[in-house]
Symmetry: C2
Subunit: 190 residues, 2 copies
DNA sequence: TGTAGCATGTAAGCCGTTACATGATTGA
DNA sequence: TCAATCATGTAACGGCTTACATGCTACA
């Protein structure tokens, strides 16, 4: 009986808020798709099974509720956020001490142990990373374009811009590191 | 019986490599301190208990070994990486497909749901975040200064520079976002 | 007719944290 | 002598993933 919800719970509640009051609600499946589209850039893409168990838990707590209307069968379990859920979410958001971001960076971790590898191998790793970065950036650009300049989504747009700027910064840093690497190996060879 | 090790295992092995062959090895306690000093910026700061259980597991697998010499009592269980451990670590590092970094960003997540809060509250959150960022940056600067320009630690130095550049980029973006926020609220009010 | 996508779950297990427990050594 | 730090672990549990299981619907 945990008092507090996990951040992922709040993230899912947030997605349900964006769904709007007029909508018939979201299925777990749809929720997962939206998480994959937006949440994954700043938080995580929860597994399908987690979305379902999380929804069940939130429903138990009365923070989300089955949207009535559809056939009550196994399919089409649609959920909406409740008034209680919205209150809880607001309270969490107003909490003035958000944790510091956590970065898990396998590429940086490997570079840290660079002395175990050949310099060309490290260069290749960084070049590959830049390619992956470009791919991610393109995906996020699609999202950003979809958001446009609509007033309802100014905040999601800001966060998307944040993400794009982050990817750009990362690209610049990595480019610089590659230059440093090739310079180092040249000066060692000559 | 997992075949593969977790990334944290490899990270700890990496720290043991840096300890050098002449050293008497590291205790779990010391290993934790080194992780807190460097690893935490790019990966995680594992809990004390995890360091010990990880060391036990790695010892079982023969990837680390008790350093002989000290009193064999309960205290001073010092570990060194073994030849097998080094081989495994190298193989992992050479693995040409490192995962994409994972960012868990509570601040961005809250900004995403900005419409639930007052603009001043969001501004405060971002300003606080910049302060936390500056603090982290100062800590990393200390590490960077300690590393200096010594050849043995060029790679750790590169990674530290990477971290510093990241914090700077983040600061610039957040500054910009604060400006956008105050501009938005002004144009709505007037 | 069959396959891709929609849709919902259960079970097992890993990674990691917090809380708890214990004791030695160092220095004020 | 007392507190801080060094030092090593166990137990319980939360969050999350992977693997597994099931079945419907649309459409080529």
């Amino acid at each position: 009986m945990r008092q507090d919800l996990s951040t992922t719970s709040y993230a899912l509640l947030g997605l349900l808020v964006f769904d709007g009051a007029e909508s018939p609600g979201l299925t777990g499946y749809e929720l997962k798709q939206r998480a994959d589209r937006t949440l994954r850039f700043y938080w995580v893409a929860p597994a399908m099974s987690q979305v379902y168990s999380e929804l069940a838990r939130l429903a138990d707590l009365g923070l989300v509720a089955r949207a009535l209307g559809g056939a009550a069968g196994r399919r089409d379990r649609r959920y909406r956020i409740t008034a209680d859920g919205l209150t809880r979410l607001r309270r969490w958001q107003a909490d003035s001490a958000p944790e510091f971001p956590i970065l898990k960076h396998p590429v940086a971790l490997r570079l840290l142990m660079g002395h175990l590898a050949a310099p060309e191998q490290l260069t290749k790793m960084l070049v590959d990373y830049r390619a992956a970065l470009a791919e991610r950036r393109a995906e996020l650009t699609t999202v950003r374009t979809l958001l446009g300049e609509r007033a309802e989504v100014v905040y999601p747009a800001m966060v998307a811009d944040w993400g794009l700027a982050y990817y750009d910064a990362e690209d610049a840093i990595v480019t610089d590191l590659v230059a440093r690497l090739t310079q180092d190996s040249r000066s060692t060879q000559s």
